[in-house]
């Protein structure tokens, strides 16, 4: 049975981030009270005409760039005509003949092998209402009507569920980093339909479309299950029908929604209410000027300043920390130490208080001073742990904080010497270990010194003194 070759194509809709909707000035924001972000245009009121939010065209240009698409410099919108209650004008304004981008790709890596997933086109279109069904009535929320979407259509170049998942993960990362979309599948700002067919030879089999799959994991599962289902049908001499299916995540299988009627006829024609758009070099350059660094560019940059790949991936997974760290690169400091702080004590603090780093008082200057103090062993990691709340929550400098927390006072040689003598007396085995060349023993003894002083001595000073004493 496994000699079938699957062919998979994905259609992904993402909601574009913008202040207002695609064709009206209503706010584009998720989670507002029902039907509060609505005007006459969103309602498809008689006499209304679409306006055009140019920022969304800019977003489209950015999407073309990050997905390596050719930009269509002369484009128009089209009407897709179909009756449905969630479709206020009973036509959707979309791009059929002149999508903003064509012929792109996304590079993925699966099991160490790189592959380009082709993108046939990306186009801009408006979202529909959200409908809810209660008994025999249907309710419509027009907040979503006219929200800008881009639809990204791959070529049938995906071979299996793993590639599909890798593609979606990469796509999400790219669009998220380019500030094009939140790409939250759970909130519906990223939605995926999977076209799957299988065949034993080069002729493609009949494909099915599985709609609105709710997570990347489920896309993988849905594809896997759909391939299995099709194989079973064909092995039993059955026939695959061109049909629309949905993925049931409880049953973990795809279920029939409707059989496609021959040639779904959307009666496309050019939207006469929106003139052709000619995208000039200036307009395109201007849109791309604000494009932030993309993940692969960040990876390269971070590895140059010495971060480990684990640190890099952790940073990229945390957008706000990443953006903060990117700003830190303008300062001279030990970036590895800084990242360690960001990913440990600072992250714990942020998680505990459910904050993002930009909501705190941790200025770059302050962070740089903490890194320097750690490097110079003026403070210990334990000191940082003790100080973290204050570092994040007020504007005092490290110096002021040290004073307040009485960290800086123990540079008193005689006191330190007293402690060291005591530690040496109490740990004869470790002293012997050190003397016979085990460096680790020094660390242990130093730890004891810190323990005795509750971490309050100057670590560099104490360490130097301990070594002196042991070498006597």
């Amino acid at each position: 049975m496994s000699n079938y070759i699957p062919t998979i194509g994905l259609e992904v809709h993402v909601e574009i981030k913008s202040k207002s909707k695609l064709f009206s000035s209503s706010a584009n924001s998720y989670g507002m009270a029902t039907n509060t972000s609505v005007n006459v245009i969103d309602l498809g009121y008689p006499g209304t005409l679409p306006t055009l939010n140019k920022e969304i065209i800019r977003q489209g240009i950015r999407a073309c760039k990050v997905l390596n698409c050719k930009i269509n410099r002369k484009m128009h919108f089209d009407r897709k005509n179909y009756f449905y209650p969630d479709n206020p004008k009973n036509y959707q304004i979309t791009q059929n003949r002149t999508p903003i981008g064509t012929d792109g790709y996304v590079e993925i890596e699966v099991d160490g092998i790189k592959k380009k997933i082709g993108i046939s086109d990306i186009h801009i279109e408006e979202d529909t209402c959200k409908s809810a069904h209660r008994g025999n009535v249907s309710l419509l929320d027009f907040n979503r009507a006219g929200v800008p979407l881009i639809e990204i259509v791959t070529t049938p170049s995906i071979s299996n569920d793993k590639e599909a998942m890798a593609y979606l993960t990469k796509l999400k990362e790219l669009l998220f980093y380019a500030n094009i979309s939140d790409c939250k599948m759970e909130e519906g700002s990223m939605r995926c339909d999977a076209n799957v067919s299988i065949s034993k030879n080069e002729n493609l089999g009949t494909r099915t479309e599985t709609k609105n799959i709710s997570s990347i994991r489920n896309v993988g599962l849905a594809i896997q299950k759909e391939i299995e289902r099709q194989e079973k049908v064909l092995e039993n001499n059955g026939k695959i029908n061109e049909e629309t299916r949905r993925f049931d995540d409880k049953l973990e299988e795809t279920l029939l929604m409707r059989v496609k009627e021959t040639g779904n006829d959307y009666r496309y024609f050019i939207e006469p209410d929106i003139p052709y758009l000619i995208l000039t070099d200036e307009f395109i350059d201007d849109a791309l000027k604000t494009l932030p660094l993309l993940p692969d560019e960040l990876r390269e940059k971070y590895s140059k300043v010495g971060l480990s790949s684990l640190q890099i991936e952790k940073l990229i997974n945390n957008r706000s920390l990443n953006d903060y760290f990117l700003g830190l690169l303008d300062y001279e400091t030990n970036y590895v130490t800084a990242v360690n702080l960001l990913l440990s004590d600072i992250s714990s603090y942020l998680n505990k208080h459910n904050k993002v780093i930009t909501d705190t008082h941790l200025s770059y200057e302050k962070l740089v001073s903490v890194v320097k103090a750690l490097e110079d062993k003026e403070i210990s990691n334990k000191n940082v742990k003790d100080l973290i709340d204050s570092l994040m929550e007020n504007d005092l400098t490290l110096k002021e904080l040290k004073k307040e927390f009485k960290i800086e006072n123990i540079t008193d040689d005689s006191f330190i010497k007293e402690v060291i003598t005591k530690v040496i007396e109490n740990n004869p085995d470790s002293v012997n270990d050190y003397k016979s060349g085990h460096d680790r023993a020094l660390k242990y003894l130093m730890g004891q010194v810190m323990k005795e002083t509750k971490g309050a001595v100057n670590p560099k000073l104490a360490s130097d003194m301990l070594e002196n004493e042991l070498n006597k």
Binding site: P46, L49, L52, D265, Y268, F269
Partner: protein, 472 residues
């Protein structure tokens, strides 16, 4: 009983400034004339707040010629809080929640909307007989049609009910009824006047325009209606100009083209003879009038049927009973609701056009008919431009005959289109054109001269029209 409304706008304005009359006097006079002439069926809805609005108009603005002047607005232009039906059952209880841009301009200029003028249902027709509210009647002969689709607007001016009206022109719907009723009607260049708030019939052809008793009043009203509108992307930004500025100038050296087709035997002999008289007069007074060959004019009606109906089928899709307008009761599901709502709501001509339009856009037909029509449409535009290289204006009769008897075209939709055969080419090219009265035929029925100008050259049309108006 008419006391003031027969005076010119200038004279009325002087009386208002001198406080010899008030806007309320004008409104009361108009209301009583409308009441006396109820049989003309010019209005669908009378603005029952208009007296109150007249009283609250404030101090007379001596710089505003139109202060306090009653105006009729075609019932496909939305007026806030004033019923707007498009002469259709489906909207016969529809109260808009916003004002069209032109309505805003009218209100800003302190004109008083006396009511909503009768018309063909959704502007689809040539005689206004498709109105759900019955046809308006031609005041020159009550057995005859007013023309259409802006029949009520034409009748309200021609019958002396109001001095001013707004009409809309998709395929001659301002000029043809103006010709049939002997008034001055201008279809400005596509994009001159915002379409925001005009219930769309064929978006790429629709244009609002002024309908008046005199050329000067027409040009003056146009001054107030034009301008780019952020709510209509097809509206055009032009430097402000005074359309009356060439009125009264002579026509020496003016170069005028008369396409042979316009005086071919499709045109009634009496109409043709009158046009020839006009030509003689123009030549005697120093204008050059050349009879020329012009291609594609005879294709315009076919193009119109394809383009206008295709667009209409999509534009009228929004009338589904979901958000506004009438909704059919006793239905079991959404498809039934659509079918019954639209089946009951639309009249036969509208249904016919929606069906033809849907057919034209379906599947391969879109290429065979629609795309090809757009190409020929480009050719018509090029042909006009070719002629306008050598000529300032193109003239001909507005219609092939005088107003027909009520009912004669009702059962022959194709014949009805032939009423518009001379006016439709202009919409295809988006050019400005006007009908100006040039006297009456032997049955005392008005004949109109059609004057077509270069894009955005309405001023030259007014120049010729005013010269002719002096004599005919």
């Amino acid at each position: 009983m008419s006391k003031y409304l027969d005076l010119s706008i200038k004279e009325i304005h002087e009386l208002l400034v001198k406080k010899e009359i008030t806007p309320l006097d004008l409104v009361d006079e108009a209301l009583s004339i409308i009441e006396e002439n109820k049989d003309l069926n010019a209005f669908i809805t009378i603005n029952d707040k208009v007296r109150e609005e007249a009283e609250n108009l404030g101090e007379v603005d001596s710089d505003n010629l139109f202060f306090g002047i009653p105006i009729a607005v075609k019932d496909n232009i939305v007026t806030k809080d004033l019923r707007t039906t498009c002469a259709s059952h489906i909207l016969d209880n529809f109260i808009p929640i916003y004002d069209a841009t032109v309505v805003k301009k009218i209100k800003d200029n302190k004109m008083l909307i006396i009511g909503k003028a009768n018309m063909d249902e959704f502007a689809m027709g040539s005689t206004s007989e498709t109105s759900y509210f019955g046809a308006p009647i031609n005041p020159h002969d009550k057995k005859r049609v007013s023309g259409g689709s802006s029949g009520g607007s034409a009748v309200s001016v021609a019958g002396g009910l109001v001095p001013l009206a707004l009409g809309t022109d998709t395929g001659g719907s301002i000029r043809q009824p103006s010709s049939y009723t002997g008034i001055v009607g201008m279809k400005p260049t596509y994009g001159r006047i915002s379409r925001y708030g005009l219930v769309a019939f064929a978006s790429s052809l629709d244009q609002i325009g002024p309908m008046t008793r005199t050329v000067y009043e027409n040009a003056s009203l146009l001054n107030l209606l034009v301008g780019e509108d952020e709510f209509d992307l097809t509206s055009v930004n032009r430097e402000k100009e005074d359309f009356t500025r060439l009125i009264g100038k002579d026509i020496k050296g003016m170069k005028i083209a008369l396409p042979k087709y316009f005086i071919s035997d499709i045109v009634d002999k009496e109409v043709r003879d009158r046009i020839k008289e006009v030509i003689n007069y123009l030549q005697e007074n120093g204008a050059v009038v050349d009879i020329i060959d012009m291609r594609y004019l005879d294709t315009a009606v076919n193009l119109y049927q394809i383009i206008a109906m295709a667009e209409a089928s999509s534009n009228l899709a929004r009338f589904d009973g979901v958000r506004y307008g009438n909704r059919a009761s006793d239905v079991n599901n959404i498809d039934e609701m659509y079918a019954k709502t639209r089946g009951e709501g639309f009249g036969n001509e509208v249904k016919r056009r929606i069906m033809i339009g849907s057919y034209i856009l379906s599947g391969e037909n879109a290429k065979v008919y629609y795309d090809k029509a757009l190409m020929v449409r480009d050719d018509i535009t090029k042909e006009f431009n070719r002629i306008f290289k050598d000529y300032d204006l193109i003239i001909g009769p507005t219609t092939t005959r005088v107003a027909p008897i009520l009912g004669v075209t009702k059962d022959d939709p194709h014949k009805a289109f032939m009423d518009d055969v001379l006016v439709i080419p202009v919409n295809m090219a988006g050019l400005p054109a006007m009908s100006v009265p040039v006297g009456k035929n032997s049955e005392n029925l008005p004949i109109g001269l059609h004057i077509i100008g270069k894009a955005f050259d309405e001023a030259t049309i007014y120049r010729l029209a005013s010269y002719i108006e002096e004599v005919f």
